[in-house]
């Protein structure tokens, strides 16, 4: 290896301008590939994070009410309810405690929390807004939707008679910490709550809609004593959520949906983006490899005499092959290290100059170390691969002919 490395380095240094050009070419290609990959990875990661910031990976829902025969069979005051299939009163999940226990025991599930949620109005004085009242157990809920870290004012706490509301709702109603609001359901049940905390979920609509209260308060407001409307769960492997959900659904017979199903359109868009990125990566790699190969083909011709001398002095065909493979590898390695640095600068520039409306970077765009390492390894391998044909022709060169020149 020492021989091949030494000769490869000297040959590259000797063809100064040529080597420089191709290394810059590789660097440019690697920078494009790395930059685009990091950007898209960052963008997709950010999109998914935002989507899942307020969503559970897996959600258990009550069964859709399909005109229950019991209601049809019994005429009277119940008929009036039957005419409105979307009952004001949220339905609760049967047997939710054993279901939650079973889900929690499933491999791949890291956290489970019960939810009692429904629509209603938040009222303060003359002002009222329609809201989603979400009854939670803060500790377990926080493990699924990190609510505590989104609190911007007050104390993260839901005690009986307390509510946490979003920034926008607080503005709309003109309430601040410690003041009271009335929450009323469609079913005319109402109660007064003291605002314990104000949060920012990073989304104005959610800040306007979500109101968090204790599970018990919600159960009594919605008149589902002891019941819950949903079970939320978090998985370890984000993208196996659909498998886990399908498995659970099959095992428990409950209506279970993963974030991947409820965001199918988003995921399809991300997939299309990923495919485009791959195409760009593939073509750039191809162009860079062709560049390396053509420079080395020329180099073999230029170095015929030197190759002949080395062969006469005892270098084997295999050694000459390695000299040129090594040159390809060095060009790939040096070019890709430069390219990675260039990509880092580009990403830095992106985060400095491409800002969102709030003056903050659109999203975090760092160059992940593993991406940089992967790109460098792949580029080095591609360099060696691109050198295969020139290396073969160098090895096949007839030393007697080369020396006669």
């Amino acid at each position: 290896m020492g021989f091949a490395l030494t000769i490869a380095i000297r040959f590259l240094r000797e063809g100064r301008f040529q080597s420089l050009l191709i290394i810059v070419g590789v660097a440019a290609g690697v920078a494009v590939v790395t930059y685009i990959s990091a950007l898209v990875e960052g963008l997709q990661g950010n999109t998914i994070r935002r989507t899942l910031g307020t969503q559970a990976h897996i959600v258990v829902k009550p069964f859709e009410e399909k005109s229950l025969p019991s209601l049809v069979a019994r005429p009277g005051e119940l008929v009036a309810r039957d005419i409105q299939p979307r009952a004001q009163r949220p339905r609760s999940i049967d047997n939710w405690r054993s279901l939650a226990t079973e889900i929690a025991a499933t491999p791949g599930i890291v956290a489970v929390t019960p939810i009692a949620a429904g629509a209603g109005l938040a009222i303060r004085g003359e002002a009222s807004r329609s809201v989603a009242m979400i009854g939670i157990e803060l500790d377990s809920y926080d493990r699924i939707v990190a609510l505590r870290e989104k609190i911007i004012e007050g104390v993260a706490r839901v005690a009986p008679g307390e509510a946490m509301i979003g920034q926008q709702l607080a503005e709309d109603l003109g309430v601040s910490i410690g003041e009271r609001i009335v929450l009323r359901t469609g079913g005319e049940a109402a109660d007064t709550f003291k605002v314990s905390a104000i949060f920012d979920l990073g989304n104005r609509d959610l800040n306007r809609r979500n109101v968090y209260i204790t599970l018990k308060s919600a159960q009594s407001l919605f008149n589902i004593p002891g019941g819950v409307t949903n079970i939320y769960a978090t998985v370890t492997e984000l993208f196996s959520a659909d498998h886990t959900a399908a498995l659970l659904k099959q095992r428990t017979g409950a209506d279970i949906e993963s974030w991947m199903e409820s965001n199918a359109q988003l995921l399809a868009a991300l997939d299309a983006q990923t495919i485009s990125t791959r195409l760009i990566r593939g073509f750039t790699t191809l162009v860079v490899m062709l560049g390396i190969a053509s420079v080395l083909v020329v180099s073999v011709v230029q170095k015929r005499k030197e190759i002949g001398i080395l062969r006469a002095m005892g270098a084997t065909r295999a050694q000459m092959t390695r000299v040129f493979l090594m040159q390809g590898g060095i060009v790939g390695l040096v070019g890709s290290v430069l390219g990675a640095v260039l990509a880092k600068l580009l990403l830095w520039a992106f985060s400095m100059f491409v800002l969102g409306s709030d003056g903050k970077p659109l999203f975090m765009t760092e160059l992940p170390l593993d991406l940089a390492v992967t790109v460098t390894l792949v580029a080095t391998m591609c360099g060696v691969l691109a050198a295969a044909a020139p290396a073969r022709s160098a090895a096949k060169l007839d030393p007697a002919q080369a020396i006669r020149l």
Partner: protein, 240 residues
């Protein structure tokens, strides 16, 4: 002839180029040649007579078309390319007409190249050895210079040092003085003579210079692809 161990023996060696093409030509017709260890032999002949071709075959740089060639008693006809290369590396040193040094390496590194090809590095011991060789060809001061900074005669002296770095028993020189002025040519020739005397290295030197050829132990003349028969008894006569 019996006093010297035989270094190489060729019998009935033929070489054709372009076999199977309309321009096929036989360059060597049944060459018979024997060289003993420690000999200092001139190979002469008109241009195009096949001197370089013969030297390349002896140097295992190209294969013969037919015949038998024993190098150090070993038949080379059936050796693989890798075996030929190993054999070349262990047995043969080369000095070419146009210097043929590697321009990217210093004089010292050029001298060490045959060793580096085998070991993969320029070791300190090798460096010392290379420097002493450069000293003997009078170029110690130029050790770190690139070939481009040296005169033709100096480059050729570097090439001689390189041919000797692995103590190869046989050095093949193809018109080593062909590109040099008389003074430099004499210097280079004298160096080869000196190594022949001091180390017992065998030399086979192609030359167009009758003056230098006369100063060799023996002259082999190639005419129309054949060794001229007068040569045969020269060997015994030339023994000093």
């Amino acid at each position: 002839m019996s006093e010297r161990a035989e270094l190489l023996r060729m019998s009935g060696v033929c070489k054709s180029y372009g076999v199977g093409t309309p321009v096929a030509a036989e360059v060597l017709h049944s060459v018979d040649l024997a060289i003993g260890q420690g000999e200092f032999v001139a190979l002469i002949g008109p241009s195009g007579s096949g001197k370089s071709t013969l030297l390349n075959i002896i140097g295992l740089l190209e294969p013969m078309s037919s015949g038998e060639y024993l190098l150090q008693g070993r038949s080379v006809a059936s050796l693989s390319d890798t075996e030929l290369t190993r054999c070349r590396s262990d047995t043969l040193g080369f000095v070419f007409q146009f210097h043929h040094l590697l321009p990217a390496f210093s004089a010292l590194e050029n001298v060490l190249m045959p060793a580096m090809i085998r070991t993969g590095r320029f070791s300190d011991a090798d460096r010392q050895h290379g420097l002493s060789l450069l000293d003997r060809v009078g170029l110690k001061a130029a050790a770190d210079k690139k070939p481009g900074e040296l005169s033709g005669g100096m480059q050729q002296r570097v090439a001689i040092a390189r041919a000797l770095v692995r103590s190869s028993p046989l050095v093949l020189a193809d018109e080593p003085t062909g590109n040099l002025d008389t003074h430099s040519a004499d210097e280079v020739f004298a160096l080869m003579r000196q190594f022949n005397r001091d180390e017992g290295t065998t030399f086979l030197i192609v030359t167009h210079d009758p003056r230098l050829a006369q100063r060799c132990d023996r002259i082999v003349e190639l005419v129309d692809g054949r060794v001229r028969p007068t040569d045969v008894h020269d060997m015994a006569a030339s023994k000093a």
